[in-house]
């Protein structure tokens, strides 16, 4: 049986694009034929749920019952990959909970593959988040995601300061999510479909849609760039899948 994989996407700051990155991950796994389930912690109404309703469940990570729903089913669940979109401000508490229930120890022991995509904001506060999160990262793959999708400029960062935080975490990997054309982003939001379906000009139920060719082109180009970042960090290897020809790139 494949080793369970848990990917946590989070940040302690809101509006930095956590759900967008989660959506690109779900699209990436879908295109690579990796069965995946997702949990949206934006209880009671989840944004991730709106885009990927078939594989997403809304949970409240602060409750024991929902923690059980996620972690007690890791071995039993048929999709071996679990993506958790952690709502703003909940990353550090969520990691603390994982430590408390012994999940981090299991990851350290190699029983579970655990990865954290930490979405960084432009403010210096994000650097403090890195320091805080770093305490939980033993045994985990830690990805620091600079998300430019909302035109973040990271102007407040001094490179030397950033490096000093960045190097505190052994094996931390930096990732860049490029900017997507605003109108294209907006149109996908309005359509409430995964990026992949938008590119394929399909609606929620796979019915033919009539999205703009230009906007689809922008999304296709952007998604390919995001996925090339995922390829660079060998994400399919991490989840134990074989990289192959992807449906979305045909």
């Amino acid at each position: 049986m494949a080793k369970p994989v848990v990917i946590v996407v989070g940040a302690d700051k809101g509006g930095v694009g956590k759900t967008t990155v989660s959506r690109t991950l779900l699209d990436y796994f879908s295109a690579n034929n990796v069965p995946t389930r997702a949990f949206d912690t934006e209880s009671p109404r989840g944004t991730l749920m709106r885009f990927h309703p078939d594989i997403t469940e809304i949970v409240d990570m602060t409750t024991t019952s929902d923690q059980m729903k996620i972690f007690d089913t890791l071995n039993a669940a048929s999709p071996s990959v679990t993506v958790i979109d952690v709502r703003a401000g909940l990353l550090s508490p969520a990691l603390a909970s994982l430590r408390d229930i012994g999940f981090l120890d299991a990851a350290k022991a190699g029983q579970i593959t655990f990865a954290v995509f930490h979405i960084l904001g432009p403010s210096i506060a994000s650097l403090d988040e890195i320091a805080e999160t770093a305490n939980f990262m033993q045994g985990a793959k830690y990805f620091l995601v600079k998300n430019f999708i909302n035109d973040t400029q990271f102007f407040q960062w001094d490179q030397a300061t950033y490096n000093s935080y960045f190097h505190r975490i052994k094996d931390a990997t930096e990732l860049t999510i490029p900017k997507l054309n605003e109108m294209a982003y907006e149109q996908v939001e309005v359509s409430s479909v995964p990026f992949l379906k938008f590119v394929a000009n399909k609606g929620k139920d796979d019915e033919a849609a009539n999205y703009s060719f230009v906007l689809r082109g922008y999304v296709r180009h952007w998604l390919a760039n995001v996925w090339s970042e995922f390829d660079r960090i060998k994400l399919t290897d991490l989840v134990g899948a074989k990289p192959g020809v992807r449906g979305g790139e045909k």
């Binding site: 109108m183 060719f213 230009v214 922008y218 296709r220």
Partner: protein, 222 residues
Amino acid sequence: MSLTPVYIICSPRPLVGKTLLARLLSEFLLLKNGTVSSFDINLKEPSLLEYLPRITETADVIDTFGKMQLMDRLIVNDGVAKVLDLGFHAFDEFFKMTNEIGFLKEATRRSVAPIILFVADTDRVSARAYPTLREQIPLKALITVDNEYVVRGELPEAMGLGRVLRITALPSFLKTYVDRQTFSFTDYLRNERDQSTELHQWVRKNYTSFRELEFSLLPQRS
């Protein structure tokens, strides 16, 4: 399946004859097919819209909305040939966008045939622009326009590798004549009885070149 041609007349330089070529080609297609859709993407040069207002609409590629309005029309296989008069200021943005959105690939999928007519010049800007186009456009679809009035001599070697469409220079007095906004090439052919005039032959020669170009690039409709 028959293809819908989309002629994109372009140059990164002003005043090289793009609008003249767009007028000629639009009038040829209108004469041959009875219909054509022309798009004027010129803000700073002589305007196709002023010459052919009934078949021309303005378009822009400055913002995403403009790009959507234009490209979503161009990608349709509706059997109506399209002519784009792409102003020099829009050259970089247009081809950056077409590359990014995968216009050529999608066009092939939808049986639309883009034909890029690059109006050559001997300056450095054109010399830099041509290889950029070559990177994204197959040589078969990239036609170099050798406008004798502009190039006045040998074409730069790199631009002569693929197919070349030659436009001979008109004497100045005839150029002034055809530059009048009320002038129509097709009307001139229809109304001028003397077929031996220089202008008559010039128009006929260019129309013949367009027909040959279309024959060689597009499977003909039955």
